[in-house]
């Protein structure tokens, strides 16, 4: 696997984008702490609360996710293909086999990886995914999930979202303060100035919250692209993952069977503009558009994979 990675090289553009996003996130942190200093809210207390929340989430992520998704941990006897494939791919990736392999009884095709470290990782797939995909495609999806584990994405994303937790908490605190205390504006002399300051802080926290959300979502999309790339390297076939993504996204199922000439009379009603993909929704999306992922995988397949032939 390492040899494959050496030959394929690094996606410098993606790496640069991730670094840029992390830098912007750092600026957001600095802005938040400056705001706390400005308003006199004790940073220490806020940090303890935020870190505590995130640490709990980080430490318990595998158990929490297994519980909320009702995924059932399966043995090698119950799901030999899953166990064998994950074991082989883990060896190739140079990570220990995840502690838990689970199956969710769900028709929707999906998969996830969680856990605070490769040793404590969990990989889960839905029954719908196993039914819909070929073995090669399923292997590609598992490779993608193992790449998330190898890249420690749970850790990266959980800790990166600390700012959102803190800003969200502050937003709520300031909201209730404004509701019940009017930011102190009516109670004491000079209260008007204090109220204006707190109002400015409230607006600032809201801006930081939404800006951070966008950055976290952006970072998440980049981590997905990196997992696509690394997963392809692990299992050796970007085209299998591209094919799996097409099936999972359900785009192909949308393509109609009726001939254009048969629907021609209905065309008069096609005056409502086609859904163009909401820009804000795209910004907040944790995953990149399927088309973009497929295109990147196709590029990988076309440009580099001939080296292995």
């Amino acid at each position: 696997m390492l040899d494959n990675k050496k030959i394929i090289g690094t996606d410098y553009q993606l790496t640069f984008r991730m670094i840029l996003t992390a830098f912007l996130l750092l600026l957001a942190y600095m802005a938040l702490f400056s705001l706390l200093l400005f308003t006199g809210i004790p940073i220490f207390l806020v940090l303890i609360f935020g870190v505590g929340m995130v640490f709990f989430q980080y430490y318990m992520s595998d158990k929490l996710v297994l519980k909320t998704t009702r995924a059932k941990v399966v043995s090698a006897e119950e799901e030999p293909f899953l166990h064998q494939t994950i074991e082989q791919l883990s060896n190739t990736a140079g990570i220990p086999k995840p502690r838990n392999i689970a199956v969710m009884d769900m028709e929707a095709p999906n998969a996830f990886a969680t856990g605070r470290s490769p040793k404590h990782a969990t990989v889960a797939v839905t029954t719908g995914l196993m039914k819909k995909l070929t073995n090669d495609e399923l292997e590609a999806v598992l490779g993608h999930e193992l790449a998330h584990i190898k890249n420690r994405d749970v850790m990266v994303m959980t800790w990166a979202s600390l700012i959102v937790v803190i800003a969200g908490y502050l937003m709520q605190m300031l909201f209730w303060m404004s509701l019940f205390g009017g930011f102190g504006g009516n109670r004491r002399e000079g209260g008007g100035q204090a109220a204006a300051m707190m109002m400015a802080a409230y607006v600032g926290v809201i801006i930081i919250y939404f800006f951070s959300q966008i950055l976290i979502s952006t970072l998440s999309r980049y981590r997905e692209l990196a997992a696509d790339r690394d997963g392809s390297i692990i299992c050796g076939s970007p085209s299998n993952l591209a094919s799996a993504l097409r099936k999972i996204s359900g785009q192909i199922a949308l393509i109609p069977e009726k001939d254009l000439r048969q629907v021609e009379h209905a065309n008069a009603f096609f005056i409502i503009p086609a859904l163009q993909g909401n820009a804000i929704a795209s910004l907040m999306s944790s995953h990149p558009k399927t088309e973009i992922r497929i295109e990147k995988l196709n590029q990988l397949q076309n440009n580099y994979w001939q080296l292995f032939k």
Binding site: K258, N267, A268, A274, I294, E295
Partner: protein, 184 residues
């Protein structure tokens, strides 16, 4: 505004747009320049208008006004009762302008609402591929038919995405209606 510009609602001119499409094909076509006839078709839904009563004559009158047409083929009524005007030319560049001219003349006779689609045929990785412009939505989509009325949806998805990247408005997937048994 010309036919294709209005189709694509793009700031690019017609030649840029279709040459963009041409680039998708890895320029296989360029190697055969002047050896292959490039074709396009315009699908028309007939009405009581005089134009359709003397369809062949009307089409011939129009095409006489347009240079660079090498061949015209008319399908008077297909299995859906639709009329096809198939235009051929010796270069891809010409087929674009020929289709553009022809469509403008039809539209000038207040028959724009009878035009269903404009189709350009090309070949990608040895597979016939049709680029369909749906007149009613002014959007474009690829159609790659295979045997037994099946289609290469995966290739279509890739081509559709490439069109979007070129700034060409693409139909949503739910409106990628096939046009089976195209007579060209």
């Amino acid at each position: 505004m010309s036919f294709l510009s209005s189709f694509f609602k793009s700031k690019k001119n017609d030649m840029d747009i279709l040459q963009s499409i041409l680039r998708i094909e890895n320029i296989n076509i360029n190697q055969k320049t002047n050896e292959v006839l490039f074709s396009s078709a315009i699908l028309l839904s007939p009405s009581d208008h005089d134009f359709f009563k003397t369809f062949s004559v009307s089409v011939n009158q129009i095409t006489r006004k347009i240079p660079n047409i090498t061949k015209i083929n008319i399908v008077d009524s297909d299995e859906h009762g639709i009329k096809w005007v198939i235009l051929s030319s010796t270069s891809f560049k010409n087929i674009i302008s020929v289709t553009d001219e022809f469509s403008k003349i039809i539209a000038s006779q207040y028959l724009g609402d009878r035009m269903i689609a404009g189709i350009f045929k090309s070949n990608i990785n040895s597979q016939d591929c049709y680029w369909i412009c749906n007149y009613s939505s002014s959007k474009f989509y690829p159609f790659v038919p295979q045997k037994n009325k099946t289609r290469n949806s995966e290739l279509e998805m890739t081509l559709g995405h490439t069109l979007s990247k070129l700034g060409i408005p693409v139909e949503p997937h739910g409106k990628w209606y096939p046009i089976w048994d195209a007579p060209f």
